[in-house]
Amino acid sequence: MIKDQEYLKSKASYCLDLAKKFGATDASVTVGNSISESVNFRNKTLDESNRSDSLGISIETYIGNKKSSISSSNLLDENLKILIEKCYETTKITPEDEFNSLPDKDILAKEIKNLNLYDNSHLENDKKIDYLKELEQTASIDKKIINTESTFTENKSNFILANSDGFCNGYKSSSFSASCVAVAKDENSMERDYEFTSKCHLNDIIDPKNLGKTASEQTIKKLSPKKIESGKISIIFDKRIAKGLLSSFASAISSSAIARGTSFLKDKIDHQIFSDTINIVDKPDIIKGMGSQCFDSEGVKSDSLKLVDFGFLKDYLVDTYNGKKLNLKSNGRSGGSTNLYFENGNTNIEELLRIDNRSLYITETIGHGTNLVTGDYSVGATGFLVENGEFKYPVNEITIAGNFNEMFKNVTLANDLEFRYSVNSPTMFIEGMTVAGK
């Protein structure tokens, strides 16, 4: 059983009291417990079971504008006492920083909405095994599939965030996820692809047959890929890759990157950065949302933000420290975006595939080729060549490159948005990128 609110609250207040007693002027504590149970299957047989029970605490102590922090998984009172004393001593000799402080009291979350993020259902390992059996059975029907690996994970968490200004709140959340990785082989190549599902509630996950079927089909489609010639080409990003570009955008508008001056989007508020059909929203209060939160990691209430409005940048993701530096109020985004998404475009997917008579549909990228300081982008990619709206053949061992400043202005979105992750995008078309191949 995960630890209840009472236990977590008692630990948190023990730490806050102790920090005050040592001489801290302010303090903040997060205590969390998370229990996760997973079962792994490989080629239709049980491969691994894993149970994890993690308890953790992190404490920040302030002496005026001085601050330092400690964290530990050992919650014995005796150990906490040693650590808090150490933290206080460290704080004393840490230099002043005028921007260090707890968040302003008036923006702390007051009401905790019920976002339905916790499902008390428990799936015994035997039931998880049944799910995975059915999944792998379906995934391996085609002879070309030579290996399948799948996992079912159930996770339950609870936490309390408390600070010396009287904030003390937390809530339970759960997730149920299943994934399948398939390997297919033919005379020319061996390829891998995957499919997964993850939801707060057990009843909302994709049924095993569909998951296995999709994983298998996506993998087989990739067999016998070709390398294409280097050149300029329009790129269509599958939804699972398009969301990555949105995550990069979120990192570039985080107040820390802006305050440090290390973002290509610094000083771009009220400037047009996307084409004028593009809207980006960050909405923390989606019921059962994978990125939903009642308050951010400092306890600040978070409201919905329209980050990009018809192509214009409207807001950064602001926390207390960097907000003070930038003379902005925290908008409850310490810890980043919540449920971040592009609003639907007005093109359907068939039309998107036909915008250009020859384009490259990307289903996977590898490498960390994103430079947020300059906006330069260059990654390894796999996908399909699309001609006149038709998928022609799989492509791999190529790279695609561009710069976000231009790429963002050339985005056209389809109208197929789904909420599967905490960051979501419709299928995305970007005109005129560079592919390096043969």
Binding site: S69, M190, S230, V373, T374
Partner: protein, 470 residues
């Protein structure tokens, strides 16, 4: 003897009993205990941005029957918690009847000292070095717009208790010192990053004002990039510099030679044992025994002493890297490559220090032989798709080569290649082998472990460079 049970309601005898009773009918398994103390101190934007200390303790209990692994971990070292884990393992392995009890070889070697690097340098001294770095860089160059410098240090104590009651222990120090600098000139911003580290005290790396060298290197890389032109796009010859660029070997070859992917036949290398996978003259080893290196371990996380494993000898594939599970299932022995990020994770076969050994060419010779290509000196991260064999890595410092001469610096670009064939494209191996500066972390299945790489300069005849200039 370690002190894991001192503050619990368990005696060592209780623990031994629970372990042996749980693993009684299993093929393998162990109780792994870990205590980690770590710190990180960060200077950023002219200020000490954070100083964090963390102390973590926990156990991971593993039982293996045939191919099935059951694992349970907790950070509560108590009778209840251990018994819960034991029950959980037994419920997964309902009908186990194992026999394997491959003995663990003994070792008297130690590749690092039993020190706690965090306590060997006071916080005041660490803060002073960070401030010196900041002032030094900002004074030295007027277009320095941002400086980030950090210390991270750790001491990890582990104990492995096997079903026989046998206990193996290790104390592992690890430190890293990092500097990143951003320059701005005519509206253009570029960063340079450099770091050093390994399994010794901070001062072993920072003596003689060594921090200045780290600053200069970060600054040099940033300045080079300020003048960089767009990188070319397409297939061309690539000369790799010595040292850190060996992450190419780590990504392209290393992961594909880890035992698990080969037992499961999902690696592009699984059916190539004994075959020629690289040009003649190419020898690659994975070595856990180099004194005080970041990737070195006295014993791995299953208790097996590490070794120098020859992976590819003169072009021929000789060995995979193995942990106990995959070794047993492939009828071979562990190479001391069983590693885990911490007690929360299962053991996987992993790399330690992966190195290509010297050949007899000079870097000069390589560059002179290239009409059109690039010279790559430093890299950021890399990644590989084990199954298709395709791998990438990102240049952070690279130059054009035109008619045998090094030309202008080029912007960061991704290089992509095919693991099983790339080493056949190596046409010259240099005589200037160098270790990396001790900063690598390898990620696999969500677990990061410290690793090292080394290589001499090499010439690759054909690779795809992912720039924007056609």
């Amino acid at each position: 003897m370690s002190k894991f049970f001192d503050k619990s309601d368990l005696t060592r005898k209780d623990v031994e009993n629970i372990v042996s009773e749980t693993l009684n009918n299993c093929d393998d398994g162990e109780l792994y205990l870990e205590e980690a103390k770590s710190e990180s101190i960060l200077l950023d934007d002219n200020k000490i941005k954070s100083s964090n200390y963390s102390s973590d303790i926990g156990f991971g209990f593993r039982a293996i029957s045939d191919e099935v692994v059951a694992y349970s971990h907790s950070n509560e070292i108590s009778k209840d918690s251990l018994k819960n884990s034991s029950a959980n393992l037994k419920s997964t392995l309902k009908s186990s009847k194992g026999t394997y009890n491959h003995e663990i070889p003994k070792t008297n070697n130690k590749f690092y000292d039993d020190i706690n690097p965090i306590e060997q340098k006071s916080l005041d001294e660490k803060l002073e070095v960070l401030n010196k770095v900041n002032n030094y860089l900002r004074k030295k160059e007027s277009n320095v717009k941002q400086v980030t410098a950090s210390f991270s240090g750790e001491q990890k104590s582990i104990e492995i208790i096997r079903s026989s009651g046998e206990a193996l222990t290790d104390i592992r120090p690890l430190i890293r010192f990092n500097v990143s600098v951003m320059l701005e000139k005519n509206g253009r911003k570029e960063t340079g990053v450099y770091g050093i580290g390994g399994r010794q005290s901070y001062d072993a790396y920072l003596k003689n004002d060594n921090w200045k060298k780290v600053c200069e290197e970060a600054l040099r890389i940033a300045s080079v990039n300020l003048d960089s032109k767009p990188a070319p796009a397409g297939e061309m010859k690539v000369v790799l510099g010595p040292g850190w660029p060996a992450i190419l070997i780590h990504e392209a070859i290393g992961h594909g030679l880890e035992g698990d992917f080969n037992r499961k036949k999902t690696s592009a290398f699984h059916d190539l044992m004994g075959q020629k996978v690289a040009s003649e003259g190419v020898t690659i080893i994975d070595d856990g025994t180099i004194d005080k290196r970041r990737g070195s371990l006295t014993i791995d996380d299953e208790g097996t002493p590490t070794e120098r494993t020859v992976l590819i000898e003169n072009g021929i594939l000789k060995n995979f890297m193995q942990d106990r599970l995959n070794a047993r299932l492939m009828n071979t022995k562990s190479t001391g490559s069983g590693r885990r990020e911490n007690y929360k994770h299962i053991v996987l076969p992993r790399m330690r220090n992966t190195m290509m050994l010297n050949g007899n060419h000079s870097q000069d010779e390589m560059i002179k032989s290239v009409d059109k290509g690039i010279f790559a000196v430093s890299f950021g991260g890399g990644q590989v798709d084990i199954t298709s064999g395709k791998f990438v890595f990102n240049c952070t410092e690279a130059y054009e080569i035109n008619n045998g001469k090094i030309g202008s610096p080029i912007k960061g670009a991704t290089l992509i290649g095919d693991g099983p064939s790339i080493l056949k494209e190596v046409s010259m191996v240099g005589n200037d082998m160098m270790m990396d500066p001790g900063i690598g972390t390898c990620g696999k299945a969500g677990q990061g472990v410290p690793v090292g790489v080394a290589q001499p300069s090499i010439l690759i005849d054909k690779m795809t460079v992912g720039g924007t200039k056609l």
